[in-house]
Amino acid sequence: MLKAENLSFQIGDNLLIDNVSLTLLPGEFTMVLGPNGAGKSTLLKLLTGTETPRQGQVWYGDQLLRSIPLSTLARQKAVLSQLLSLPFDLSVAEVVMMGRYPYFDLNPTSLDKQIADDCLETVGMFSFKTRAFASLSGGEKQKVHLARVLAQLYRQAEDRSVKYLFLDEPISALDIHYQHQILSLVRELASQNIIVFVIVHDINLALQYAQKVILIDKGRIYGMGSANEVLTETAIEAVFKLRPYFITHPETGRRVMIC
C-alpha cells in the first residue's frame, strides 16, 4: 500500500501541490488526469522521492519513503519519466539492461540478459535489440524505456512483495494500436500485486482502463474514485474548461466522451 499524507510542495511562492492525501492499493490501476501545469508530474515526483515535500509524508507499506535505502527502493519501484534526448548513444539492449542494474554487481548474469530480452519481447521491440537508441522514433524509444522499467520490476517466481510502478505519459508518442497494447499490459501488471500510477491525457483511455482515477487541478485533488464517478460532465467542464458530451459505446455499453 502506498499512502501520502497532506503533501505540499512549493517553488518560491508558487504552490505546486497543496495538501494532497491519497492511498493507492496493489491491484488497482490508478490513472491521473488534469490540465497542463496542474501538478501531475510534481505529485509523481513527490510520491517517488525525486522531490522532497515541504510538508507531509509518503509511506511505502509501513515504511517511510525517506527511510528506505535507495538501493532497496530500486528493486521495488520503477519510474518512467518524460525523457529528453541522450548526450551519448547507447544500443537498445544497453538501455534495457539498465533496468537490471540494481540486481547485479558489475556484469549481468545470464538471467539478467534473459529478463532484458523477455521485456523487449513483451513491448514488441526485440528485433530492435542491437539498434542504436538515437536512431529510433519517439514511440519506439518510449517502448524501449517501458521495457527497461519492466525489467527493473521483473518478478522472480518466489517474490511476493508489493512493487510500485510510476509512468509519466507512457503512451503519448504511441499509435493507437500500441496505446491499447501497452495499457492492457500495464493493467495486467497491476493485477500482479503492483501499485500502478499512470499519468495520461486521454479521458477515453481512462474511462476504458482505469480502476481508479485521480483528477488534479491547481495542485489539489479535484476528484478521486472510479472513472465513472470522477469523470463527470461537471468535473471535466470545471477542470478543463470544455463542455464534454458522453455517448454510449455500441458494443460494450461503456461511456465515451466526445467534444
Binding site: L70, K77, S85, P87, V95, M98
Partner: protein, 355 residues
C-alpha cells in the same frame, strides 16, 4: 567497425597487446637504443637468473631511467584517459576533458606554488608530508578548481554546457594567471621548472614517482569501475540515477574527487599533458559504444599505449635532447579534436552525436 563485431573481451586483448608492444618499443628506443639481447640480459641479471657481463652504463640507463620512465608514462596515460571518461560522463558532454574544466590548471597552480614557495615558507605540514607535499597541494587546488567550475555550471540545477565551458575558461585564466605570477616572482631555475612543467615532461621520472603514481592510479581506475553503472544511467538523466538506486549528489562528488585524484597525482609528477583525456575516450567511442564499463578499461589501456608512444617520440626526435611531451600531445591531439568537432557538427544534422 562496430563494437558488436568484436566482443569487449577481445578489444581488451587487442589493447593489452598494444600496451605491451608500446612498452617494449619505448624500452628499446631512445637517445641510446638498446637491443632485445641487452634488455634480456639486464632483466635476467636483475632477477639473478643469469650472470652475463653487460655495459654498466646501459644497465644503469635501463634500470634507473628508462624502465621507471616508461612505466610511469603508461600509468599517467591510463589515469588521464580514465579521468576523461569520468568527466565526459559526469558532465554528460563528449567534449569535456580535465584541461577544460580547470582540473589541470588548478593542479599546475598548486604545483607552481610548491616549486616557488615550498622551500621558503615553513608550513607546519611541509615536513610531515615530505614527498607527498607536491601531490597533496596539486590535488587540493585541482579539486577546488574543478568543483568551482562544476558549481558555477550547475547553478541552475542541471549542468549547463555553455556556462561550464565559460566557467572553465575563467577558472583556467585565474589559475594560469596565478602560475604566471609565481613564475614572475620565481628565481630562474624555479621559473624554468614551472615552464617545463606546464608543457609536461617525463624526464624526471624515477622509481619513487612510479611508486607513488602507480598504486594511486590503479586504485583510482578500479574505483572508477564501481561508478560505471551509475554513470551509464546518468546518460538517461539525473532522476533516473536515483530511480535505479544511486544517490546522485553523492555520485557527483565521488566522481569529481576520483577524477581529481587521477589527474592531480599524474600532473603533480610530470606536469600538464593536454588532450590525452579528451582524445582517447573519443577514439574508443568511434566503436559505437558509450558503455562506461568498456570505456574505463579500454581507455586505461589505450591511453597508456598512446602516451608511451608519444614519450618515445619526444625522446627520439631531437635526441640527445628531448621535447616536452605536452608539445607532442598538443600537436597530435588538437587536429584530432578539430576533426571530432567537425564530425560532431555533421552528425548533429543527422540527429545525434554518434548517430
Amino acid at each position: 567497425m562496430k563494437l558488436s563485431s568484436l566482443t569487449p573481451g577481445s578489444w581488451y586483448g587487442i589493447l593489452a597487446i598494444l600496451q605491451l608492444l608500446s612498452i617494449v618499443a619505448a624500452l628499446r628506443i631512445g637517445a641510446v637504443d638498446l637491443t632485445f639481447d641487452d634488455i634480456n640480459h639486464i632483466l635476467l641479471n636483475g632477477m639473478g637468473l643469469s650472470n652475463t657481463t653487460i655495459d654498466p652504463i646501459s644497465q644503469g640507463l635501463f634500470l634507473q631511467i628508462r624502465l621507471p620512465r616508461v612505466l610511469l608514462c603508461a600509468t599517467v596515460g591510463a589515469g588521464l584517459s580514465v579521468s576523461g571518461v569520468l568527466m565526459q560522463a559526469l558532465f554528460r558532454n563528449p567534449i569535456v576533458e580535465p584541461g577544460l574544466v580547470g582540473t589541470s590548471s588548478g593542479a599546475a597552480l598548486g604545483a607552481a606554488l610548491v616549486f616557488v614557495l615550498g622551500k621558503n615558507i615553513n608550513w607546519a605540514f611541509t615536513d610531515a608530508l615530505g614527498l607527498f607535499l607536491l601531490p597533496c597541494v596539486a590535488f587540493t587546488f585541482a579539486f577546488f578548481a574543478t568543483l568551482l567550475v562544476y558549481r558555477i555550471a550547475s547553478v541552475s540545477g542541471k549542468v549547463n554546457v555553455a556556462t561550464m565551458i565559460l566557467a572553465g575558461i575563467a577558472i583556467n585564466a585565474l589559475a594560469t594567471g596565478g602560475t604566471g605570477f609565481l613564475s614572475y616572482i620565481a628565481r630562474d631555475p624555479q621559473a624554468r621548472s614551472i615552464t617545463f612543467w606546464n608543457l609536461g615532461t617525463f624526464s624526471g621520472a624515477d622509481w619513487t614517482q612510479f611508486a607513488i603514481v602507480f598504486p594511486v592510479t590503479s586504485i583510482g581506475v578500479l574505483l572508477s569501475l564501481r561508478f560505471t553503472k551509475a554513470l551509464n544511467i546518468l546518460i538517461l538523466g539525473e532522476d533516473e540515477v536515483r530511480h535505479l538506486g544511486y544517490n546522485i549528489d553523492r555520485l557527483k562528488i565521488q566522481v569529481l574527487l576520483l577524477n581529481t585524484l587521477l589527474v592531480a597525482i599524474g600532473t603533480a609528477m610530470v606536469g600538464v599533458i593536454s588532450f590525452v583525456g579528451l582524445v582517447v575516450p573519443h577514439l574508443l567511442r568511434l566503436l559505437k559504444t558509450s558503455d562506461n564499463r568498456f570505456l574505463v578499461i579500454a581507455s586505461a589501456l589505450l591511453g597508456g599505449s598512446l602516451l608511451t608512444l608519444a614519450d618515445t617520440l619526444a625522446r627520439r626526435l631531437v635526441a640527445p635532447a628531448e621535447f616536452p611531451i605536452g608539445v607532442i600531445t598538443a600537436f597530435v591531439g588538437a587536429p584530432v579534436f578539430i576533426w571530432l568537432l567537425i564530425r560532431n557538427a555533421r552528425s548533429f544534422q543527422k540527429g545525434g552525436f554518434y548517430a
